[in-house]
């Protein structure tokens, strides 16, 4: 199975570990993985009203990835940008829109791909599962219905023991450029999440979007809280035999 990895610009520049963890998982699932030269899905431009810029970036994405059987994306919000909003950018060109839609139908958020298309075998013996909680990032949750998939994978990997947060589905306050335009509101929303984490006494927060997680980690570190923040791919990859 020929799979292209779209690492997303946030992972590419700020958290390469997630790119490699995704690679490990896909290879363990028997995929032949390529990482073509790539950049951004255009979400930042799109959500700030620059549809022309967003269209140019989406078109580039199409050209880079169209040759592949599948595209896997370790981010719910970038996947939702492409799958849900992307086609609307090509309403002026029906043929292009059809090509774009066809590619997005073969494109998957990572946990959806591992659940629906190819799942790795988790072999690593882990003596004790770490207590952790999961944060549902909004775009993945509401646009792509990513909720059960990462939890099921984490349970199968036997790496962590999840405690559900009462506000697991509440927005963390990241919101792309929102987090720098309205930092005080953004941090207050992070604080609500952190307070629930502390009340649940979990020391690890897991999620599926490094944007949200990076913001939460930034707040957690600023407050000196002993909470570890991980993308689910990193946790899952630790249960793959021979992974580094």
């Amino acid at each position: 199975m020929k799979v292209a990895l779209f690492s997303t610009c946030i992972v590419d520049t700020l958290k390469p570990e997630i790119g490699f963890a995704t690679l490990t998982l896909l290879e363990a699932a028997g995929c032949e993985v390529s990482v073509p030269t790539q950049s951004c899905c255009g979400q930042a431009n799109f959500n700030n009203g620059d549809t022309k810029g967003a269209r140019a970036l989406a078109l580039q994405w199409l050209k880079v990835f169209e040759a592949y059987e599948y595209v896997v994306i370790p981010s719910g919000s970038c996947a939702a940008m492409l799958k849900i909003h992307g086609p609307s950018l090509f309403s002026d060109d029906e043929a292009l829109q059809l090509r774009f839609k066809a590619l997005t139908q073969r494109s998957y958020e990572l946990s959806a791909f591992l659940s629906e298309i190819a799942c790795p075998v988790f072999e690593q013996e882990i003596s004790t599962a770490t207590p952790a909680s999961y944060h549902d990032s909004c775009s993945g949750l509401r646009d792509l219905y990513i909720k059960a998939q990462p939890r099921a994978l984490l349970a199968a990997s036997n790496t962590v023991e999840l405690t559900e947060l009462s506000n697991a589905e509440a927005c963390c306050g990241f919101g792309g450029t929102f987090c720098v335009k309205h930092p005080e509101i953004s941090c207050r929303l992070a604080d609500d999440k952190i307070a629930t984490l502390e009340a649940a006494d979990t020391r690890m927060l897991i999620g599926g979007d490094w944007g949200c997680l990076m913001h939460l980690k930034g707040r957690i570190d600023a407050l000196n809280k002993p909470i570890d923040v991980k993308h689910f791919s990193e946790v899952l990859a630790s249960a793959i035999k021979g992974a580094h």
Binding site: C9, N45, G49, D50, Q60, D143, F178, R188, M214, G218
Partner: protein
Amino acid sequence: MSTAMNSQKVGFRPASQTALNNPDLQQALARARGGFVDKRQIAIEALPEFEAIKARAKAIKDHSLDHLSDYLIEFEENVTASGGQVHWAQTTEQANEIILNICNEAKARKITKGKSMISEEMQLNAALEQADFEVMETDLGEYIIQLAKETPSHIIAPAVHKTKAQIETLFDQFHAADLPSNRSREALVSEARLRLREAFLSADVGITGANFLVANTGSTVLVTNEGNGDLTASIPDVHIVTASIDKVIPKLSDLPTFLRLLGRSATGQEITTYTTLFTGPKQAPDEAGPKAFHVVLLDNGRSEILHSEFKAALRCIRCGACMNHCAVYGTVGGHAYESVYPGPIGQVMTPLLNGLEGSLDTISACTMNGHCSVVCPMSIPLTDLIRQHRINAFTQNKNSLIERKGLGAWQWLSLHPRAYCLGTALSGRAVKMLNAWPFLQRFTPMLRGWKTGRALMRAQGTTFQAQYKKRRQHEDTT
């Protein structure tokens, strides 16, 4: 008593910061948040056909909007046939003038008012008071904020930003001098009720809003939980209804579809305590009721919205679910939006009512989490409409130069693979440098926002793509 409207606007950003640092407001918001959300959830889980009702309501409302002028004319004909009168107002000024004329002709002095967001849009209280009428708000929440000279902070719970202690202090000031402290909620409500009864019985004109206008019967529909609307409407000689033109639905048999959504979405109630249809003035053999019945239909830009990309916003039935589920509204409350309509529906309506220019901060205050769109009983794509305002602002060159240049630079970089690789590699190193030499952070505006409350991330200094290529080359050579 006067209602302070539009008291010094400072802009969303400063107003939201003040709100975050207001402990009373934070206490009131925390209390309200859970109540609305949980009650709605329970009510909807108990109604398996909720989604089907939503689909039907959307279809009816879309049809009504597509034939809006026909249904409004049918509504007027039926109001006239039942002995009432419809007045058409394109602007809020015209609407205020119509109401002032009716009150003057009735030689009125005292006016009672039910809750009406349209009257807030019109700033009707200010207009009436300026003409020396005595106006009394009769919805408990509206009564409270009228005493406090404030505006509503929520479309269905106007005083939701106030704590019980604040309300008690306010009542001490206006009700009686020697009241005991720390009175019960019931005692506070009784005090207000006493005042309101006097007003109901002595009013010359009663003004209410309308949740729906029924075209085929000429009825205006009002839902309340306090019954104040009914006392406002039925005791005085004159009843005036204020409503915007988008409120019309074709038939009486369509009404239950909307009522089943409204109560559940708003407060988690299957149906509100009072649901009243007003059809014309008192007619034989009625024993009570107003002698005159007027409906003031306000456009205020809605005819234009109808033909714009924001048409879906006119489906709104003003339940407040979007603001109850909004992360940003939940932390700053309604006043920070400095508009009649706060929260997500406000972020859609405010630029349409007040212009895009002054609303840029407000439309940026959305994390695009999509919760509002999911809970909207009328399936209004609120997030998409807020984004549409951002698109319009960008297209019309209204947003800041830094933002435009930043997005442009990002687009250019992302479209040029070599530049992107170099740029992102440098940015990784830059983050590393910024960590090593914190004084450099002062020169980066995006980072200033990030650093407000957050630690800088530790970057590796090279990108995933660069590291991956290196690894592949290494594997190929070994």
